[in-house]
Amino acid sequence: MKNKFIVLTVLFLIGSAFTKEESSGKYMCKNGKVSFFSHTPVEDIDAENNKASSILDSKKGSVAIEILIKSFRFKKALMEEHFNENYMESTKYPKAKFLGKIDNLSQINFSKDGTYTANISGKLTIKDKTNDIKTVATLLIKDGKINGKTKFKIKPEDYNVEIPAVVKDKIANELEIMADMDYSPM
């Protein structure tokens, strides 16, 4: 009898925990990994940021991401300096932002463990330029948490990033952006 009571209490607690999660439907990521990669025959350049912040609203299907440019870390100090001072002007424009939505929201069951493909579209702002982008992300849902991964390409010139002629052959026309973000319920 006593055991039954305990079991019921535990079940009730688990149940209420789940309903609480479902009632918000929001997930947050505070230390997401965002990296970019540039390949040319002359030089490979990559940089990594482990502080991407994001809120994913599973009910509305909206995704907001903010990335601080100063958190990008390069292997070479000089590259990091040029990136911040010349290309990104990161004191003037300290963050990049993405505001978008999951277009195939109905195909994703956030309360069921599994791997889902999310088609994401939205607006990416870097420096003072905003462009529409589309990407496909893989969402791994497990134990109420979500890992989201995606990869896409952008052109520096689309975001007012001017690359001087002297280094043009060292920086690729298209940069590959990769994101790997762990979300937990808010």
Binding site: N50, K70, S71, A77
Partner: protein, 140 residues
């Protein structure tokens, strides 16, 4: 005379090359060893930032901060950068201090509620508070 000119040109070229090579490979600024620009409590740091983000960016971005505050969460989901969230006066708004992978054991040794002193580089403010990276612990 010609010989002298050739020698000086070669020496200059070598010097130029060495300087170039040094610049290209110059090491990152060691934040842990750098002298701090500001010593701040987490509450006042966030108060100032939220009052005027733009002015705070001008003042604090890339500066070395020694931060004092209470650990409110240890965030280890990103293995490459163990992080301690330090409380501000606002609930849910923290200062996220990112440490090098090698410092993971020191980060894990911190308990929630512990008062900590952390030195790091200010990267700015995002939706969850202020971000500091390349952090290390400062002994009192």
């Amino acid at each position: 005379m010609v010989k002298r000119i050739i020698i000086s040109v070669v020496v200059l070229l070598i010097m130029g090359f060495v300087v170039q090579l040094y610049l290209f490979n110059k090491p990152h600024k060691n934040i842990a060893k750098a002298k701090e620009d500001f010593v701040l409590s987490s509450a006042e740091f966030y108060r100032e930032y939220s009052d005027n983000e733009e002015a705070s960016n001008q003042k604090y971005l890339e500066k070395v901060i020694v931060l004092e505050g209470n650990a409110v969460e240890i965030q280890l989901e990103n293995e490459d950068e163990p992080t301690i969230a330090v409380a501000t006066a606002e609930e849910g708004i923290n200062i996220r201090c990112g440490f090098k992978k090698e410092l993971i054991n020191e980060v894990k040794a911190v308990s929630i509620g512990n008062k900590i002193r952390v030195k790091g580089k200010c990267d700015g403010m995002d939706m969850f508070g202020i971000v500091m990276t390349q952090c290390s612990f400062v002994k009192k």
